[in-house]
């Protein structure tokens, strides 16, 4: 039954999206023509698609490193039975509760060149006026958005890692302390390997959310300046809903889906490896 519901409301729409990718449909006009693989060969030539694909890969790479690393770090700190742990947990989880629209807007205010929080702080420490326009420069726009997005994601990773940490038998860590190994040795040799299953979940969720990461990007830059922070999802939106190339947009969606399939396949291989560790 779950599979049936999923098929009707997700798989079937996906298939019709495949269908449109072979047409020149503009979204409005009920008359359209089959164009074969023309949309796919257009992808091959599309300069904006190439840069959006690179940005998506960068975002995914960052999604694997940033929220994961920071979440793990926070979880390790909180797990060391620090006073106020529950308060800290809630503080770091809070960002997930806020809507992407508002989060995006506040980060725009943080990056605002003249009176934004970041440049005001930097000016204070550098004791000279610092007014770099973080979101307006093609060099920094994408990374600035990724930083904001990571801020929102970190809490999720932290909570999952915290759970993973409590699952590790405390006698194992006590043995380490008795043997006089350093904190870093303990983390590297004992905790990290045992946290591997948690890492798989965290990375999967981060990658999913990075592929879907659209709302915050839309509010912060709309993929700009001049398409420099476009991701594939954003590019698909532009082609389908701003240029009315619905057929071409569908072709981009198909490519995106194939990429996702590949990732899932890799993810499953990873899962199998983890299972082997356990058995």
């Amino acid at each position: 039954m779950p599979v049936a519901i999923f098929s009707v409301f997700v798989v079937w729409p996906l298939i019709s999206s495949f269908y449109y990718s072979f047409t020149d449909w503009n979204g409005f006009d009920p008359n359209y023509e089959f164009v074969g693989f023309e949309n796919f060969s257009k992808i091959y030539k599309d300069r904006l698609f190439a840069s959006a694909a690179i940005n998506t890969v960068v975002w995914m790479a960052a999604a694997i490193v940033l929220p994961t690393g920071l979440g793990l770090f926070l979880a390790l700190l909180i797990d060391s039975r620090v006073p106020g742990g529950a308060v800290f947990k809630s503080v770091f989880y809070l960002p997930i509760c806020l809507s992407a629209v508002v989060v995006g807007q506040v980060w725009v205010w943080i990056y605002q060149p003249d009176w934004g929080l970041l440049n005001t702080t930097l000016s204070y420490f550098l004791s000279e006026k610092f007014n770099y326009a973080w979101l307006a420069k093609p060099e920094s726009a994408l990374f600035s958005v990724i930083a904001a997005w990571s801020w929102q994601q970190t809490g999720l990773s932290m909570v999952i890692y915290l759970a993973g940490l409590t699952a590790i038998p405390s006698d194992l860590t006590e043995v380490c302390e008795l043997e006089g190994s350093s904190w870093w040795q303990k983390v590297r040799l004992v905790l990290l390997p045992l946290l591997a299953p948690a890492t798989v979940v965290v990375i999967a969720l981060s990658v999913i959310n990075s592929l879907k990461g659209f709302d915050i990007l839309f509010i912060m830059t709309e993929g700009g300046p001049f398409n420099s922070s476009d991701t594939l999802a954003m590019h698909m939106y532009n082609e389908s809903f701003r240029k009315y190339y619905m057929g071409y947009g569908s072709a981009i969606a198909v490519v995106l889906f194939l990429v996702a399939l590949t990732i899932v396949w890799l993810y499953f291989r990873q899962l199998k490896k983890v299972d082997e560790i356990y058995s």
């Binding site: 326009a133 709309e222 700009g224 300046p225 001049f226």
Partner: protein, 423 residues
Amino acid sequence: MNVALRKLLVSSCIAPAIAVGASAAAGADNEVTISHYFTGELGLKILQENVAKFEADTGYTLKDSPIGHEDFKTDILVRAAGGGLPDVFSYWAGARTQFVADSGGLSPIGDMWAREGLDDVVAKAVADSATMYNGERYLVPFNYHYAGMFYNKQVLADAGVMELPTDWDGFLALCETLKSNGVAPIALGSKFRWPAQFWFDYLLLRTAGPEYRAALMDGSAAYDDAEVKEAMEIWRGLVENGYFLPNSNADTWTDASDKVARGDAAMTLMGTWITGYWNGLGLEPGVDYDYFPFPTMREGVANSVVGPIDGLVISSNVQNREGAEAFLAYMMSNADVQSHWTSNYGALSANVNVDSSVYNDVMQRVVGTVAEADTFAFNYDLATPPPVAEVGLSMFQRFMDSPADADAILGDAQVAAAEAFAN
């Protein structure tokens, strides 16, 4: 949703080939559905007040569906694709309405137009440029805007400026005076690209003229032509002389307007909606701010004004045609509705019976400026087909980032625009 309407919706979807004239059954139904992008504090409240007036006067009930500007583009396309367009929706006159009309998404309103005598109500210049597509009438101009140079009066007074520029030399002199007084002359908020288009529009219209621009907009002229290069060259001169505040790509149009309101910059080239925004912040029209028309640049070039027109259209799968037509006619020809809507929204009415004394002092003079103009031109992203507009808007933003590369940017834009036109 009542059963009759639901049944109709169902049937219209089973046979998605859009069934005009299936509206007979809906005659008994007084409900008209409408979808529009007049959101935010200002738009929504004032529109609803006028909708209430329409309902009280005509006995129709309106099922209102407001959607934020950007999301509206997605929503209306999805509904068109799914055969579920509302009876009436708001749309931007010009190339976008052309696109929907070409795709068979609209119902012609010529009969209603004639029946209601709208020829005597709608200003001729607007009616000619905004309502006819492919030889049929499709749209009523609900309101229009005008783009001009809005400035902070105090800043100009502090710099000792007594006279507003009317020609290009005067404008350059003004910029120089302001700059030497330590004020940035011009603020531009091109973060979301479109505010930059007014500069391109006016520079091109004032040098190459409206006919050349129309050719560029329909693809018969090219972005690497000498005319476009010249306009960009002038723009580049302004940027390189330091007349624009730096980092324009970091600001939205409201950020730029705020900078003018604060006195960080003297003026900004923007549409009349800025008056609605500034009035909302507590600025006094004619006291704190004022405007002047974009200066003339060349003898013998027709005087154009630039701006967008918000239209109301009837969809091709309309369920309640009678009600939809009644709504369009009422909203357009009722002078009270038009006055109330436009004067509060910071817009202008194309209804000739609206007494311009309902507007504030600044807007009254804008009405005069528009009336004196030879042509009313749509701003860039409404003048050229949507896929091309995407190319151009990104080009303006790239230009503001590195004006020195203007020629290379135009070359790239021409390649991309030619491709978009070919599609």
